[in-house]
Each structure stands twice: as structure tokens, then as C-alpha cells.
Symmetry: C3
Subunit: 329 residues, 3 copies
Amino acid sequence: MHQTNDMADSRGAAMPADNVDNGLYGQDILSVNQFDRKLLEYILDVGDEMRALVRRFGKANLLEGKILANLFYEPSTRTSSSFQAAMLRLGGRVIAINEVKYSSVTKGESLPDTIRTLESYCDVIVIRHPETGSAQTAGKAARIPVINAGDGAGEHPTQALLDLYTIADELKRLDGLKVAMVGDLKYGRTVHSLTRLLRNFEAEFAFVSPEQLRMPDYILDELKADNHTYAEYEDVHEVISDVDVLYVTRVQRERFPDPDDYERVKDFYVIDPELMAKAKQDMTVMHPLPRVYEIDTRVDDDPRAAYFRQMENGMYMRMALLAAVLGKA
Amino acid sequence: MHQTNDMADSRGAAMPADNVDNGLYGQDILSVNQFDRKLLEYILDVGDEMRALVRRFGKANLLEGKILANLFYEPSTRTSSSFQAAMLRLGGRVIAINEVKYSSVTKGESLPDTIRTLESYCDVIVIRHPETGSAQTAGKAARIPVINAGDGAGEHPTQALLDLYTIADELKRLDGLKVAMVGDLKYGRTVHSLTRLLRNFEAEFAFVSPEQLRMPDYILDELKADNHTYAEYEDVHEVISDVDVLYVTRVQRERFPDPDDYERVKDFYVIDPELMAKAKQDMTVMHPLPRVYEIDTRVDDDPRAAYFRQMENGMYMRMALLAAVLGKA
Amino acid sequence: MHQTNDMADSRGAAMPADNVDNGLYGQDILSVNQFDRKLLEYILDVGDEMRALVRRFGKANLLEGKILANLFYEPSTRTSSSFQAAMLRLGGRVIAINEVKYSSVTKGESLPDTIRTLESYCDVIVIRHPETGSAQTAGKAARIPVINAGDGAGEHPTQALLDLYTIADELKRLDGLKVAMVGDLKYGRTVHSLTRLLRNFEAEFAFVSPEQLRMPDYILDELKADNHTYAEYEDVHEVISDVDVLYVTRVQRERFPDPDDYERVKDFYVIDPELMAKAKQDMTVMHPLPRVYEIDTRVDDDPRAAYFRQMENGMYMRMALLAAVLGKA
């Protein structure tokens, strides 16, 4: 939406969106900073309704006749499929544009021109783009709602929303939780966004990472400003017995200039049945996926392993957001 | 349609299609030469109806249960998306085949075999292919309608039809217009096809291009044969104050063996607010897009800048054509 | 379906599936060995019904609200389009995932994780994958039905089923036929699978191939165990006058270390009008396509040339299978 270019900068402080009272109809979804507690509670409720509809009827034909342009400048099977399924289950239709890099873009067309063309054909645009800020650019160019499905090192707000939905669904509350985020906290877009969303609730944070991959100071500063408690750790074993949410991300070898450093710490961030034996019974293990070695597949059958349910929740949250911005939630 | 292989050669003179009285049901759309004035007026009217339906209801479920195979041998996000949206807004469904180059084609299959396979699955085929004449080949092989979405240096008839629709919509008439075509008139498939369509109306032409990129003689000869007036220019400033339609295309640096030649003329074909200040109030600026530098983005907000509306019209014209060949217009 | 991991090995003897009495509802389609005569007759009948519905109404809205994930790890326009058309004609919707190689797979995700993610979004998965056994792996990981659309040198059961359907439809019987398989019988996945399906009927086989590309012994051993008659030949001219089914595949030059060997035999496997003049009037010529030189295009208009009808039958059989596994056949 080009009317909404007063969006807070993604690095800025959380700003209550001025559309809270009116809901999300006609709005872009560009940043987690658009959401305050009231709006979060509303969209999680809509997600619950979507899940109930899908489980009962397989679908919810709220968006019959509407078209989504699913514009992916970089591949992401998971996110792309999730948005497509969300639109289809709502009775809408999808134009999937995956080959963008080979196409008009290579002829030098600007992103605003591409967006203005696409909005002639469809009712809502989902965009994934490798450049930070591109979703904002798209939102500014379009008169129809634009949903950010990841813009480089920027944001991926629908991931953070489905993460929050999963916490609420697994633990039946969002206040009073001890949340451990584990792994690469420096480059991990998902842990930054989820932390920001959780600032709207009473949460205590444990950040578990190698020294090289610590949570950035600007996130920590935001928590301090809010009087949220956090502590930093190097090894997940230090915190496992005490956490309600264990949010796992991968520590990549390539992040370490010295391979010895990697070898020393890599096992600190691996979740296996032995570690899980020390965890509480009513906690939840989450991961944005894809998962490689960082969660042992033997954990998959543990009832606390929520990561595949988390994927499914992605569809419900995206249904909720699509329905909301198109005025049907 | 293999019944219709009596199509005029794309370089031949305009030939009134023998299906004028019967409309387009069951026909291929391969060349602008299929269309005479009566058929053009008919299809523009259907386009108007489609636009009214989309604006009122968001859709027009005339093709419920029909399947379009959207067969793109070379990428074109814009044209592909436009055809997909057209089919979806008509209630039909789409099989998008974008990765053709990697597939059975590489196993050496002939185009007629590919077409005969696809027609087993669908009701209409849209084909874009880099080789001139390929759409004719496809049309001959298929028993179902085939629509040419661009065949190399050949034709792109639906682009010319949407251009004509846009002129009619912006200026509310098609006769008595002074039409300037600007830029690369030698290699520009769109300006050739639009010129041919405009021969069905009273039009006067101004062709504005570098010497190296003049309108080909065979197009000029066709105009002479019809007693249409035209003149050639090197600089758009010479004609701007007098034109009703300014149809802009890009002059590419690579077309000039000598870079100095390019530098000397390049600014002659750039549309900016200063140029627009000299133009009539009731004229229209069009461009097939993508646009790079040849239209200054400051022109975008000028009410005479029709190029984004032109894109939108593409969907309505393609809806009209799909409905017409499937007997639902 | 992870419940059905008691599937016979694709190289093992034919095993009557234990789901015969219950039909295919909720089952995977991974191997031709799942099908006995009773189940084959059932699914061919469903195919007939699908064809009748498509020919009368253009569609059969049995799967309204269902979503197919069409997961192609290697391109196959023909098979992919056929499954998509089948799902769309059943009123279902499709998420086409063609770019898998560029996506989460490259991030190192395991196939079971990909499948478990996708099954959150859809109701049935079709998978094509270059590695033998991958479809079994997918079937084991998924709680929803998985259909094998080709797993490397493994199986391609829906191709064999459409081949069988075509024989039944062209010749109006499946018993008492003399079936010649011609060309590359060593590497040809389709001829292996079709031979196995035909073991459920009274059939006599003629295997026509170069010495280097003979039918593998394990297939011949299966026929012996069943008391099926077969003979091997080097030249199709030896058998042409006597066969009811001529199933043609391509002999590729690259299979011959010595080019002279190829030159000596290549014409033995080419079907042209002269050869067809020697064939019976009530026989059928089939080919899995794509066809290059091995069937002369002059044969295409021969009423015995069934290969394009065979493609069309692919859609009906896939409609039958999709409807069956989703409980709507």
C-alpha cells in the first residue's frame, strides 16, 4: 500500500501500528513492528479460526475470485508452498512467479514497475526478495496489499507470526514464558523478529550462541528499554532444564574463520534425546526449518517437538493474514 | 487449429479473416492479419465487457472447468502473468509450463508432438517461443485453439490488440488520430503489429527513430498501398506538439556499431516532463514495458501516461480472446 | 503413507497388495507390484468413468477443496502436466514445485523433512525424483498418500497403468494378446513395468532389441515362474505380422560403445508405413513419448497409431488414481 509509507524502520523501536483499531484490511504486512499486543491477539485468533475451518471442511472459501501473485526472486519451496496453500484453501487462486531472475528483471526493469504491472492482474502480492528494504519498496509502489515473505537480511514477519502462534498453541499462553533462542543469533532473521514480537508479552530470554554469533546489541537494547530480562549463554546444556520454549537455529561452519573454534562449540547447539531428557515436560522445541544436523531426528517423535506442527501453523497464519488484508477475516 | 492453415503469412498484406461473420470460436490467434475492422471492433467491445465484469465482480466465470496450458519457451513474467490472470478471472484453470527448455524439448521432441500431447490435457494453448513461425506450427498441430504470445521476430498479436484497446479507451476514438511511434522501429515487433492494426482505421503516422532503426520498408509499403499518410523523423521533439498517441520503445546501445552514433541521438527518444509540457492535453503516452530510462519516472503521474493502464488492459483483452476462441464471448 | 512400508521391493516378485478388498483409499501408489488383476480391473474401470465425465462435462468435481503438491525434482513436462490436468479436471488445486533443486534441498534438507513439511499444506503428493527408492522414502515419511511419478531407474507405475489402460481401450481385451516390446529393453523403465502388469493376464511376449539392450534376466525369470511365453528377437520385421501390441522405445546411439554396432541395427527398430503395411489390421502401436526418429511421423495418421491417445489416457488414469487414494473413486 503506498498510503502506508510511514512504516517504522525495521531497525527502529517497536511502533504501535496506527491501524490497530481498524484491523489489517487494505494494509501491507511488511514488518513485525506493525503489530502490537492487541493486533497480535486478533490475528492469532483468526489463525485459530482458519485451522478450525481447514480441519472441519478442508477449506474456507473466503477469497473466491481473488488472485494472489506469489513473487519469489529467490527460491523458497517452503514459504512459497505455504502461501500458495493458504490462498488455495481460502478459495483464491495463485499466479506463481518463480523465475523472476530470468525475466523482465534482467531487462533492467525497476521493482516498482514490476509491482505496478502485477497489481493490474491480482488482488494481493507476496514478495520474497534478496535485498533488504525491497518489500517496503514494493509496498510503496502498490495500491493493493503487499506481504513481505522475506527481504534479505531484513524481515520475514509471517515467519515470526507463525512462530508466535505456535508458542501460543503449544503452551496455551504467551505471558510468563522463559524463551531460549539457540544457535546463530547474529544472522538469524527469525530470532530477531520473534524476539521483537515477544516484547509485547511478559517473557524472559536466554540467548545461547557462540561468542561470534551473539544476538545483536540493538535487539538487546530494545529489551533493556522494555525492562525485559535476558541472559546470554554459550551452551544449551546450561539452560535446558529451565526453558519453556527452545527455539533452535543452525550454526554454520562457514561463519567461523578458525575451524577449531567451530569444532569446540558445535555440540553446544545440538538437540538430541539426551538433552531433551533434561528438559521440562511441558515445554516446546521449535525450528524454522530446514533442519540439518542441529536437531537429531530421534527427537522428531518427542511430543514436545513442535517443528512440523509449526510448519502447518504457517499455513493457518498466512490464511489469516491474506483474509485480513483482503477484508475477509 | 489445424483447419486454419490458410492463414496469411505474417509479412503478407492484411487479409480479412474468413471467420469474421462467425466470430473467433474455435480459431487460433496467430497474427494481427486475422483481424479486420469489424472483428477488431467486436473484440474491443468484448474487452470492455470483461473490464466491467472484473471491476464489478472481480471475475467472470465464463470458463469454469476449462484449462489453459501456458507454454512459455522463453520467460516473460508480464505476458505469462497476464494470460494466467485472464484465465483465472474467467473461472478457468492454468497449467503453467515455464521450464520447457529443460524438459522433453531437450530430448529432441518436435514442437508438433509437444503440442499434440498438451492438447490431450487442456482446452486452449498459449505459446511463447523464440522462433519465428513456431506459433503457426503449433496452431497447425493442435485441434484446440492456440494463441500466439510472441514468436521471436514474428508476431505478438495480443500485444497489438491491447495497444489498440488502450488507444480506443484513452482517446475514445480510433479514427483521425496522429500516431507517433518512437525509438527502435526496426526490431520492435510491437510497433510493426500495431501499425498493421491501425491500417484498419484513419490514422496518420509519424515514425521517429535513428537512421539505423527506421521502420522497415515492407511496413511503409503496406501503408502506401492503403493511402495512409506517414512521415519519418529523427527526434521526438519535432512531432511532440502535434500527436495524439506517443508510442515509445527503447533504443538500445547495442544496436549501434559506433558508440558515438548512440551518444549523438539517444536523448531524441527520451520522454520527460519537459517534453510532455509541449504535448497536447488530450493525448496518450504508451509503452509496451519493461521501461528503463526512455520514459522518465516523473512522467508516471501525468494523467496522459497510459502505460500502466495499458498493462491492465492486457488482461481484459486476453480475457476477451480466451472467451472468444472457447465460444463464451 | 508410513503405514504401508511393507511394500514389495520393486525388483521382487509380484505381491498381491493386501488392500485389494478395500480399494486404494489412503494408500500410496509406489510400485506396479501393488496391483493384482482385480485391482487393475477396478482402476481401469474408474479410468473409463473419468473419461466419460471429462468428455461429457469437461470435468468431474470430485476433489473440490483438495490440494495436490506436484513435487518434481527433475523436469518432465509431460508427466507433470498430466498430473496437474488430472487434479484440475477433478476440481482440485495444484501447488507445482518444479524448482526444487534450487531450494531447501540445496540447504541440505532430507527428503523426509521436505515431505513432512509439504504434507502440512496438501492432501496428496506426487513425486518425481532421480534416485531409485526415493518415492518409497517419501511414502514412508508422509501420512497422506504419495504417488510415484518416476524414481530414477526404479518405477513409474502410473505410466505402466496408462499403458495397460490404452491396450484395453484399443483392443477391447487384455487376455490372449501377443505383445512385442521394441527398442531399449535394458534401461527402459516403462517396458519392465508394463511386462510386470501384463503378468496378471494371459499374454505372450516378443522382446525385440539389440543384444546389448536385452530385457533383463530378472524380468525374464519372473515370466518363466508364471509360465508366460516369451521369445527374443533382434529385428522388428521378424515379428510385425503377428503382434497385437507393438510397444516402441528408442534405441539411443550413446548405448553403443562401438558406433558400427549401432549403424548395423538401428533400422531394425524404426516403425514406418512400409513396416505397418505388414502388421495386422486390429493391432496397436504405442510409445511412451517423447518420440524422435523411431516412429516415422507418416505413421501418425494410421488409425493403429495409439501414442497420442495413450497420452490422453494418462490424464484419465491419473484422475482415477488421485480420486481413488483420496477416497472419491
